[in-house]
């Protein structure tokens, strides 16, 4: 256990040690909170920049590169702009709710970070029902979205809020269901236990991350889609679909309240990505044996960044779904598929007890097949009866 690995833990202990003994738990809690907020707020700033730069590059342009070296201070400029902008509240708005909505959105999302293990011994609170806490806290953001949309007294806002709530409720089901196999096989709701369960090595070198199993891969796939939808990101950004309903429930927000929503959205995305890393990508564990020398928090960060990149990549490529398609996709594809994934996980579990050696590939193929066939047929069913292929004739 290298010192570098534990540098944050040790520093925290050392700093908390300065406080009087009675206040030490409080001091360390405050430290942890401050650290999480500082790190992820910086992350937010960097991600907005990285997103714009990557989007730019994928669209064959530079992206922001004017403020500071390589545009590094762009988030600062944006922040200052947001701060000094006039805060406009519509005349007919419900002023209290309009004011409360961004707060109600942001606070629970920050709370969700309390249970994520960012590295070895780096969990703010190790709750028994960590993942339950995560989802329970996350569900509060729907209320905030409703408050924002309704209090603005704007048609676009109301439509946006309706869309957002319908979408978030629908995708919460596959989101939770896709995590269930992990909980089943780890036998715990505690995120630390789940990470620990992925800490051993198969064949002596490959980490036993959940993603290296058929159900884990499928689970990650389902989880990422549902998390994208939960955080209202493209291609599921209907609640803010700017070409249809301007900015949805954010239409009447400006200035720092808008910035808070923006922050909440990104931090929610981070929480989702962090949970994805924890559940499927082995948390802070190294991928192969022999790489444990790198600090655990670094591994977490790398995987986290990879997932964020995936989200940005999808945003650059995909257009938006329509509301009915989105809901159909959730209820007729994602939910059944995540239920199927439960079966796959069960099959994986039982075939694990097969006595004969060399069964690993058979087991893999079997379980993967168990997922792929429903995947194919559900997708087919979702699209409906296929029309005959299009033919384009040419007139001379």
């Amino acid at each position: 256990m290298s010192r570098l690995d534990q540098i944050f833990v040790l520093t925290g202990h050392w700093l908390a040690g300065w406080a009087p003994a009675a206040l030490r738990p409080l001091a360390s809690a405050v430290l942890a909170i401050a650290c999480i907020m500082a790190v992820f707020a910086t992350c937010f700033a960097l991600t907005t920049l990285a997103e714009r730069k990557l989007l730019g590059r994928m669209q064959n342009r530079f992206g922001p590169n004017r403020v500071g070296p390589c545009g590094l201070f762009q988030p600062v400029a944006d922040g200052v702009k947001m701060l000094i902008k006039e805060d406009i509240v519509p005349f007919s708005a419900d002023k209290t709710l309009h004011f409360l909505a961004p707060i109600v959105l942001t606070v629970p999302i920050w709370l969700a970070f309390a249970v994520l293990p960012f590295g070895r011994n780096m969990t703010a609170i190790d709750l028994d029902g960590g993942i339950l806490f995560f989802f329970a806290i996350g569900s509060a953001s729907e209320l905030a979205v409703f408050m924002a949309g309704w209090s603005s007294q704007n048609k676009y806002s109301v439509v946006g809020a309706m869309r957002a709530i319908a979408q978030m409720i629908s995708y919460e089901v596959p989101l939770v269901l896709s995590t269930v196999p992990v909980l089943m096989l780890a036998g715990s709701l505690s995120l630390n236990d789940i990470v620990a369960a992925q800490g051993t090595y198969a064949f002596g070198w490959l980490a036993r991350w959940n993603v290296f199993t058929p159900w884990g891969l499928a689970g990650l796939f389902l989880f990422l889609i549902a998390a994208t939808a939960e955080s209202n990101r493209s291609p599921f950004d209907l609640p803010e679909g700017e070409s249809e309903i301007i900015a949805g429930y954010l239409t009447e927000y400006s200035g720092f309240k808008y910035a808070l929503f923006f922050l909440g959205e990104y931090v929610g995305l981070f929480a989702g990505a962090g949970l994805g890393v924890t559940l499927f990508l082995g948390g802070w564990h190294a991928p192969v044996k022999g790489l444990e020398w790198a600090p655990s928090w670094l591994w977490f960060g790398v995987k986290f960044a990879a997932l964020i990149f995936l989200f940005i990549w999808a945003r650059a490529t995909l257009p938006r779904l329509r509301l009915d398609q989105l809901l159909n996709f959730a209820w007729r594809f994602m939910v059944p598929l995540s239920l199927v994934n439960l079966l796959v996980a069960a099959a994986w579990y039982w075939t694990g007890a097969w006595p004969f050696g060399g069964a690993a590939p058979i087991r893999w193929v079997l379980c993967a097949g168990l997922f792929i066939f429903p995947y194919h047929w559900l997708g087919r069913a979702l699209r409906g009866p296929l029309p005959p292929p299009r033919k384009y004739s040419y007139a001379e």
């Binding site: 329970a136 209320l143 709530i165 209820w331």
Partner: protein, 173 residues
């Protein structure tokens, strides 16, 4: 001492939320206050170290039921406030005996409960694992029954939902 303060805070939040949900004119405000009361209740559970119940309360009541209420209000457009109308319904007095009856039932049940006779044990710890084990062993049949019921409800909902687009299509054509 700290515990008492937290308890008082949570309790007052719950009560204030409940009272506001009853008294406010605006339906949406009422629904949101009810959500606040649910959250306060969840906090009370958590303070009692009943993690699972507290989190489930949050997940189900704040995350689902409050949203359901709010959604219903939005869909039925119940956000219109009639100025000057009383918030009490004309049959408000019916509520009195009902309320009294419920209170009597609750008090009776609590007073009759054997748990009052037991000493409040310092470390009643009910970790999620234990709840899970209980559900999977002793209460497995009820759990399965509930699961079946919910599945049936889900399928029913899907069946109802599926019929709609065809109607819509026939309407437009």
């Amino acid at each position: 001492m700290l515990n008492e303060i937290i308890f008082l805070l949570c309790a007052s939040l719950t009560l204030a939320g409940a009272v506001a949900a009853m008294m406010l004119r605006n339906l949406v405000h009422c629904a949101l206050c009810a959500a606040g009361a649910f959250a306060g209740l969840a906090a009370l559970y958590l303070q009692l170290d009943a993690q699972f119940v507290g989190l489930a309360q949050l997940l189900i009541y704040v995350g689902a039921i409050a949203i359901l209420i709010v959604f219903t209000i939005m869909l039925t457009r119940g956000d219109e406030v009639r100025p000057g109308a009383s918030i009490a319904s004309p049959l408000w007095w019916v509520g009195l005996p009902v309320g009294a009856l419920v209170l009597a039932c609750l008090v009776g049940a609590i007073m009759a409960s054997p748990s009052l006779l037991r000493l409040p044990a310092g470390a009643v710890h009910a970790p999620v694992r234990k709840i899970g084990e209980a559900l999977m062993n002793r209460y497995v049949m009820p759990l399965q029954a509930v699961g079946l019921l919910l599945t049936a409800a889900l399928l029913g909902a899907v069946a109802i939902g599926l019929r709609e687009p065809r109607d819509a299509e026939s309407k437009t054509q």
